[in-house]
């Protein structure tokens, strides 16, 4: 039995000063229900999460007190991936036929400022100025460039593509394309990453309606099958955010193991994927994630980016809606925004950003603190 996505909805990413995070989440659910031609009372279960927007199960106050099972999920940046995985297994197990996943958030402006104790760390780590995700991504990128011959050119090209794709996406936050020079000359934030190479915390909501694929055609002409959903955490030796120390022995990142598990579950390989979403907290992580997810060898990214392989008209289009760089990162919603965009592409509804040639297989990858990855493989 397969699991199908039959409804997709977004509340636009960026800033919605007049709305709470929960209201943005409820808007996304309403949009997904409308897309599927269903009503809230049809939902048998819900999984949802948010970092700063409050409890997801409070959405019933807006959507209706129908008595459904509603479970809150919190897994850092991988919250959306974990919610979707929970829904996937709920349907796959046969317990439920139909339900919804929802993610939303509303972050204060500026960089995140996590509390050390929430992450099992002592206060000195934050007080001394080492508890910033931006530092980790910069240091991982710095080492990766050193080991694999990646240059600033690759980092700039990732951002250039992201903002161009964002300019084609009506729900994106950053809708202005930026030139290579604007990115290359933007302020250095955390060496080697510059201002336009980082995504920013933002607001927004995303929701998906899922059902048993056997009944999916009652609701849509084009169900998208969720062929695999895998979530994995860090291993001893993988280089992760919020780590006061790292072992000398180097292990695969959780992305590598989540990706392998998902490909195995779906029974396909990276070469069969037509359109991708890779976690792009910053330019460097998109470069690294291309290889960690199995789409190229370490070091090949430099040439692939120069050749435009990851552009919408390239051989392996990455983050066709502008990714986190152009959409910002409302943590709870971000992973589901990725799946939303893949569904748009596989349904052929991408308009001026549609990947040519009727893509059939899509892939999403989310990564977050403190070392967790979620991968989904979708087909039509």
């Amino acid at each position: 039995m397969d699991v199908a996505i039959i409804g997709i909805g977004l509340h636009p990413f960026g800033r919605s000063p007049e709305l709470t995070g929960q209201q943005q989440g409820a808007n996304a659910v309403r949009a997904a229900l409308a897309d599927a031609g269903l009503q809230w009372k049809d939902m048998q279960f819900a999984y949802g999460g948010s970092q700063d927007g409050g409890n997801a199960d409070a959405l019933v106050n807006e959507l209706g007190l129908t008595g459904l099972q509603f479970t809150n999920i919190w897994n850092g940046c991988a919250t959306g991936g974990s919610s979707l995985h929970a829904a996937y297994t709920a349907i796959k197990s046969g317990e439920y036929d139909m339900g919804v996943v929802v993610g939303f958030d509303k972050h204060p402006r500026g960089a995140f400022n996590p509390k050390p104790s929430d992450w099992g760390l002592d206060n000195w780590y934050g007080e001394s100025g080492m508890m910033l995700t931006t530092q980790f991504f910069a240091m991982k990128t710095q080492r990766y460039m050193h080991d694999h011959g990646i240059t600033n050119d690759a980092l700039i090209r990732v951002a250039e593509k992201a903002f161009y794709n964002g300019s084609l996406t009506s729900t994106a936050w950053r809708r202005e394309a930026l030139s290579y020079e604007q990115i290359a000359n933007s302020q250095m934030v955390s060496d080697p990453l510059r201002k336009y190479m980082f995504c920013s915390p933002a607001e927004g909501g995303a929701a998906l309606i899922l059902c048993n694929a056997d009944i999916a055609r009652r609701y849509t002409r084009k169900p998208v099958l969720l062929k695999a959903a895998a979530v994995r955490t860090r291993h001893y030796g993988s280089f992760e955010v919020f780590s006061p120390s790292q072992p000398m022995q180097v292990a695969d990142a959780p992305t590598v193991t989540a990706s392998k598990a998902a490909f195995e579950l779906a029974g396909i390989g990276p070469q069969e994927v037509d359109v991708l979403q890779l976690q792009d907290t910053d330019s460097g992580t998109e470069v690294i994630h291309m290889a960690e997810n199995g789409f190229c060898e370490h070091g090949e990214q430099e040439q692939l980016l120069r050749d435009g392989a990851t552009r919408i008209d390239g051989a392996m289009p990455v983050n066709t809606d502008g990714g986190c760089l152009a959409n910002g990162e409302p943590v709870g919603a971000s992973g589901l925004r990725q799946v939303h965009e893949i569904c748009v592409q596989l349904r052929g509804e991408g308009g001026n950003r549609q990947v040519p040639g009727s893509p059939k297989v899509g892939y999403t990858h989310v990564y977050g603190a403190p070392g967790i990855s979620g991968v989904n493989i979708l087909t039509v």
Binding site: N123, G126, G129, L132, Q135, M139, Q142, S245, Q246, P247
Partner: protein, 142 residues
């Protein structure tokens, strides 16, 4: 009477004229950890001992923190007096890569592989006038 107090007990030997980083080593698998912990992240056993990780290491990766972090960052700096600082992972002789602040020196730009020395210096002054001491690294002066 003011004194110099370690930001946290057990991170480095203190007070000391030649402080060293302190960590733990698993008596079962031999892996080292910083800061020290009673259980081993590698094998899950709960048999560790406090060990010195040394005072001189090699830079494994780095970045520069160019803006003043939000709280819980706690130093005596203001937005006006903030100066960028390095952050990196330093391979210590004790067999673990330790994250620390790195003092920037225009004469010795940060490069992977460069040798660094441990230093313990005041991070801030508390309400009672005590200096809160924190470890960091600086390029080795030959």
């Amino acid at each position: 009477m003011t004194s110099q107090i370690a930001i946290q007990e057990g991170l480095f030997s203190w007070p000391s004229d030649h402080p060293e980083l302190l960590g733990s080593r698993c008596q079962h698998c031999g892996e080292a950890s910083f800061p020290s912990q009673p259980d081993c992240r590698c094998c899950g056993q709960r048999d560790t001992q406090i060990v010195s990780l040394g005072h001189r290491g090699k830079l494994w990766t780095w970045t520069i923190q160019s803006f003043m972090p939000k709280p819980p960052y706690a130093t005596d700096e203001t937005a006006e007096s903030f100066t960028p600082y390095g952050v990196g992972y330093v391979e210590m002789p004790g067999g673990v890569r330790v994250e620390g602040r790195i003092q920037l020196n225009p004469a010795a730009p940060l490069t992977i592989g460069m040798p660094l020395d441990l230093v313990v210096e005041p991070l801030r002054t508390d309400a009672d006038g005590n200096q809160i001491m924190m470890f960091s690294f600086k390029p080795v002066e030959e």
